[in-house]
């Protein structure tokens, strides 16, 4: 073997010790290299949470008390893993958790919101026709035009209205009929001199651009008027209307998500893809359109999808609209047509079931700790980025800390996945690929 200090001579007995020492050093070096390769090619991910309020360095677990005797922990990652090692540390003198089941699923947390009884209805501003009846959705209610005379006096033609079935119309609360042609109802839409407007409480609010208007409605839904019409109402130029919630925008090198009156930048391309979004759905925005919004903190992988997101459950063929902390089923093709302006995120109803479980065993160290291991390869196929762990226990259980370590089995498939990611990153780094 190479001796870098061959000119420094040792006595024969010490030379033997030196040889043994060298062999040990090389063995440690080789093992370290193997360890490094193992961690690199089969990476593990460590999530934890300390419920005593101490800060966790990185990869925090989400935590929710879903009911008095049920706790839900969430880990957020796009990658597929083979094994999960779960550990709970309780405070002193707690009831024994041995044999308690930890149920595991992988889904999107927004998709797991409770389903609202009422399905999604047409949004405000929608002009609808059903047989010989014509409607406008105004202030959350569906209002019928009293007759053809009112419609033509207001300037509408049949082309302004989109089809709606009787069933779809019934999803909305009924409002008063529109009986007057002298005043436009709230949520009426207009196109005046290449600018779209929405009427609200007798004030005209302009849309920041045509693209913003089209993120909500079709062109035909706006009634064309001339500039004289602007004199009849107050125009609020200070607060133009931006894009619909859940719209993806790009500006400069950033990609943003519209959430309420803010734009939220994605922290990295992996988060964008982990949420199930598609690069083709991004709308390029100009300075004026982006400048309209306040910027919010970055959108990290732990955040759920916002209101306005549409999910498509592949296995049940159903569409859902996220509405606050609940989801509403989108029934009816005509309603779906409106909400599909934002491409749906693919999900599976099956992912809502807790398909995998493991039973907790008491550990010797740390004190008051329990752990279990489970194989989760079968969860890899389910779309989603949120691994959720549910534990049912007594209402007075006090958990001190929880940890979930995800790891991959050493096999050809996992190696191939990692090498593929490395290759993709390498090519992207040198400008030859796009992140996928």
């Amino acid at each position: 073997m190479l001796d870098f200090t061959k000119n420094i001579k040792l006595e024969p007995a010490w030379q033997k010790i030196y040889l043994v020492g060298r062999i040990l050093v090389y063995i440690i070096f080789i093992f370290s290299a193997i360890f490094f390769l193992n961690r690199t090619l089969f990476p593990s991910l460590d999530f934890s949470i300390n419920l005593n309020g101490q800060r966790v360095k990185e990869n925090p677990l989400g935590y929710e008390n879903t009911s008095s005797d049920e706790s839900l922990f969430s880990a957020y990652t796009k990658e597929n893993f083979s094994i999960i090692d779960f550990q709970i540390i309780t405070k002193k003198n707690q009831s024994d958790l041995s044999q308690k089941q930890i149920a595991i699923r992988k889904t999107y947390s927004a998709f797991s919101y409770p389903e609202d009884e009422s399905p999604a209805s047409f949004p405000n501003g929608s002009l609808l026709k059903n047989s010989k009846n014509f409607f406008l959705v105004s202030d959350g209610k569906i209002r019928k035009f009293a007759g053809a005379k009112i419609i033509s006096a207001l300037g509408y033609t049949e082309e302004n209205f989109q089809d709606a079935t009787t069933e779809e119309i019934e999803y909305s609360e009924k409002g008063e009929d529109i009986i007057s042609a002298e005043k436009y109802p709230s949520d009426s839409l207009f196109l005046i001199d290449n600018t779209y407007y929405k009427l609200s409480s007798d004030i005209l609010h302009p849309f920041v651009s045509e693209k913003a208007f089209l993120s909500y409605f079709e062109k035909s839904q706006a009634l064309t008027k001339d500039e004289e019409f602007l004199k009849k109402y107050t125009v609020n130029q200070d607060n133009p209307i931006g894009f619909a919630n859940g719209t993806l925008l790009s500006f400069d090198i950033g990609v943003f998500l519209v959430i309420d009156e803010k734009v939220v930048p994605f922290n990295n391309p992996e988060t964008f893809l982990a949420l199930g979004y598609n690069w083709e759905d991004i709308i390029p925005a100009n300075e004026e359109e982006i400048g309209l919004y306040q910027r919010d903190k970055v959108f990290s992988i732990s955040r759920p999808h916002p209101s306005g997101t549409v999910f498509f459950a592949q296995d049940s063929n159903k569409y859902y609209l996220i509405f606050g902390q609940s989801k509403k089923e989108i029934r009816g093709e005509n309603i779906l047509k409106i909400y599909s302006k934002r491409k749906p995120i693919i999900a599976q109803e099956k992912s809502l079931e807790f398909q995998t479980a493991c039973a907790l065993q008491k550990k010797l160290w740390p004190f008051n700790s329990y752990g279990c291991k489970s194989f989760i390869e079968n969860l890899g196929q389910a779309p989603g980025k949120d691994y959720q762990f549910k534990i049912q226990s007594s209402p007075d259980l006090e958990i001190s800390a929880t940890r979930a370590v995800f790891s991959k089995k050493i096999n050809w498939l996992n190696l191939r996945d990692t090498l593929s990611i490395i290759k993709q990153r390498f090519l992207t780094n040198y400008g030859y690929g796009t992140t996928n």
Binding site: F4, G21, N429
Partner: protein, 138 residues
């Protein structure tokens, strides 16, 4: 007493040789990790991790330097005193340095990349030359 002194001397030399061995392997590891970090920044590990490894290298160098001082009467005469700058190790390091420098400036475009890389390599060569000359003079 003489026995004790002999044992101490041999132990010092043994420690020096083993630490030197570790130093070479550590340098190889740093070289490999630096190349990986340059090609795929922050993918396998963070720059902070690499910084910790380099700090550990300095600790190792301090230890070797300390042991070298204690055993200077046996170590110094034995060390090679080569006037040759261009040996295999230096050529290997030069090639790696060139690759790393060119990679760092790759986004500049050819007209800037070539002169800046050549300038950086010349500076590196002069620094290396000065270091070798001053250690030879010592």
């Amino acid at each position: 007493m003489a026995m004790e002194q002999r044992t101490k001397k041999q132990l010092g030399l043994l420690s020096y040789k083993l630490l030197y061995e570790i130093l070479i392997l550590w340098l190889l590891a740093i070289l490999g990790l630096t190349v990986i970090q340059v090609i795929m920044p922050n993918f396998f590990f963070s720059s902070f991790f690499l910084a910790k490894i380099i700090i550990a290298l300095f600790v190792l160098l301090l230890l070797i330097s300390y042991l070298g001082k204690i055993n200077s009467s046996d170590i110094l005469p034995a060390l090679e005193n080569s006037d040759k700058i261009w040996n295999k190790k230096v050529i290997f390091l030069f090639i790696i340095s060139t690759a790393l420098i060119v990679n760092s400036f790759r986004d500049l475009g050819m007209f800037l990349l070539i002169p800046i890389s050549v300038f950086a390599l010349i500076v590196l060569f002069f620094l290396f030359h000065q270091t070798i000359n001053s250690s030879n003079n010592q």
